[in-house]
């Protein structure tokens, strides 16, 4: 994939509306802003604060030819690979977690040479989003030097013009669309995040279009009462949808813990029946559920309640 030129990225930003206006819409209408072939970047990390409702809606709407990027990609990455919605994957790691073993579809696609996956280091990819957020074409780093990662990715090394020291340069990343799930937002798109900030603010600033789902929509005054908690300003945001449990069965800081047992079931099915089980999972939980509400109805309400309780206890 060719790295977007930083001048072109700034021109595209010039076409974006920065108006303080009503951004509140439905999940489906927000996802209408994603086009086939877009580079879609995910906020959150691993199985925390993942914009899963947005990811599932993109699959429901049948987008194709996408590039997806996320620093540590969990099973949402597997879904896009399993239905060939994504042609390119930009990441530093893909899987659910050590107890669940190596991703079967990563192996299948990777070992048959079908996958175009860019292998960055966690920081290397983070600095690419950061460079984009800074409006610069690249950033110098001391990481990835001397490694195989530097050989298989679009990095350059240079001698520092001041000290002569060898530096690794990573090119800026300017995603077309950022997908973010946050704790609360107002109707103008001002977003607040509790717990880990991850890279959401960098990804939002680097992207042309920013789509947000929020656990809660709050009054503008509520945002203004605690402006220090705002991670993403409204003018960056193009659409906000109210989606409680928008990261579930992944976790949301202080609201609900991850549903490990759900991962067990998902992975056990793949182990038993092969990667076709990913498609079966999607047929049930994504394509078979017309909306996020219908999706949530497939989960046991008692389990949801227990996961909310566990989250409260963890912070206690």
């Amino acid at each position: 994939m060719k790295t977007a030129d930083f001048v072109e990225a700034r021109r595209r930003l010039g076409e974006k509306s920065l108006k303080t206006t009503e951004k509140l819409t439905t999940l489906a209408k927000a996802v209408n802003l994603v086009r086939d072939g877009d580079h879609v970047a995910f906020g959150g990390c691993m199985f925390t604060r993942t914009p899963l409702a947005l990811a599932m809606e993109i699959l429901r709407q049948g987008r194709t030819g996408l590039t997806i990027s996320k620093n540590l990609m969990c099973y949402e990455g597997e879904w896009f690979m399993a239905v060939d919605a994504a042609q390119n994957v930009i990441t530093s790691w893909l899987g659910i977690g050590l107890p669940w073993g190596i991703s079967r579809i990563l192996r299948e696609k990777g070992e048959s040479g079908q996958l175009r996956l860019e292998d960055w280091s966690h920081m290397g990819l983070g600095m690419r989003y950061r460079a984009g957020a800074m409006g610069l074409p690249f950033l110098p780093t001391l990481t990835m030097l001397g490694s195989g990662l530097a050989e298989v990715t679009e990095t350059r090394s240079m001698a520092c013009p001041f000290t002569g020291q060898t530096l690794n340069l990573v090119p800026a990343l300017f995603p077309d669309v950022a997908l973010l799930h946050v704790h609360r937002a107002d109707r103008y798109g001002n977003c607040q995040i509790d717990g880990y900030p991850f890279m959401d603010a960098d990804i939002a600033a680097a992207s042309t279009t920013v789509l947000v789902t929020a656990e809660e929509i709050v009054d503008e005054d509520e945002i203004r009462r605690h402006p220090d908690r705002t991670a993403i300003p409204g003018f960056m945001v193009d659409a906000v949808a109210h989606v409680p449990y928008g990261a579930y069965p992944h976790e949301m800081h202080g609201l609900y813990v991850a549903d490990y047992a759900h991962y067990d079931t998902y992975v056990d099915a793949i182990k038993a029946r092969g990667t076709g089980a990913i498609r079966e999972y999607l047929d049930r939980f994504v394509y078979g559920a017309a909306s996020h509400e219908a999706y949530l109805a497939l989960f046991d309400g008692e389990v949801l309640k227990r996961n909310e309780q566990d989250a409260k206890e963890l912070l206690g």
Partner: protein, 254 residues
């Protein structure tokens, strides 16, 4: 003499001892993180654990061990929750004394592979990738590798350098631009290993109780440097074993 502990319990205990006297550590997911938490609760109460998800100084609840370095379980009683880029940038600045991480393949110069077994374009085994491992080994003041000791893991040369140790040995790491850090120690369930000063080739530092030199040689796919006398590591104590078992009662990692 029979020994009442498993290889992974032994590995975790031995890794935790490497943190004695250390103030700030960057812990990778799995056994390294478990060992860091163990050390915090036994040898090193003041140890500040830092993880790539952004948690600074967490105190994990026994039985609620985090699986991901980004989850709420790892934010329990943390002193700070930082952005991911910010954590790596303060590592680049030099605040992290020791990095702890695992690896699928390790070679005689301490290079680590978690990307592919076989050729990159068409691998025999596609692995998950670097995550923060490359950054930890590149940027911490020094790095300790923690891994089960198996012949298939200890290869003469890794198929892919995901995370650079001493590269081709000698001064090759520094020549590549990595002027800080390096791999100082490899902890396995058979022994402790260091690197010879000039060549940077792996050498035996000590063997764990009941482990023979033949056993280590048979489980290593390259020639280790063997010193004239080989010390024996001290047995895990009951306190160490009790603490580690209480941390992971579901045995997700042990």
């Amino acid at each position: 003499m029979t020994r009442d502990y498993t290889p992974s319990e032994l590995l975790t205990v031995m890794a935790s001892r490497e943190m004695v006297g250390v103030n700030t550590i960057f812990a990778g997911v799995g056994i390294p993180l478990l060992a860091a938490i163990l050390s915090q609760r036994t040898h090193s109460p003041g140890l500040t654990i830092i993880v790539e998800g952004g948690s600074i100084g967490p105190e994990v609840i026994p039985g609620k061990l985090p699986i991901s370095t980004n989850e709420m379980r790892l934010s329990h009683r943390a002193q700070m929750l930082l952005g991911i880029n910010e954590v790596f940038l303060l590592t680049q600045r030099g605040f992290l004394e020791v990095g702890f991480m695992g690896g699928a393949q390790i070679d005689r110069f301490g290079n680590v592979n978690t990307t592919v077994v076989g050729p990159y374009e068409k691998p025999r085994l596609r692995l998950p990738g670097s995550g923060g491992a490359n950054d930890i080994i590149s940027l911490c003041r020094h790095t300790v590798l923690v891994t089960p000791h198996e012949r298939r893991r200890f290869v003469p040369k890794v198929d892919f350098v995901t995370s650079p140790g001493w590269l081709d040995g000698g001064d090759s790491r520094a020549r590549s631009g990595l002027i800080f850090g390096g791999v100082s120690r490899v902890v396995t369930d058979l022994g402790l290993f260091g690197f010879e000063a000039g060549t940077k080739a792996m050498q035996i530092a000590s063997l764990h109780p009941g482990v023979s030199l033949e056993q280590v040689v048979a489980n290593t796919g390259f020639e280790l440097i063997i010193p004239g006398t080989i010390p024996v590591t001290a047995e895990p104590t009951q306190e160490e074993l009790d603490t580690v078992r209480a941390l992971d009662p579901d045995r997700r990692f042990l």
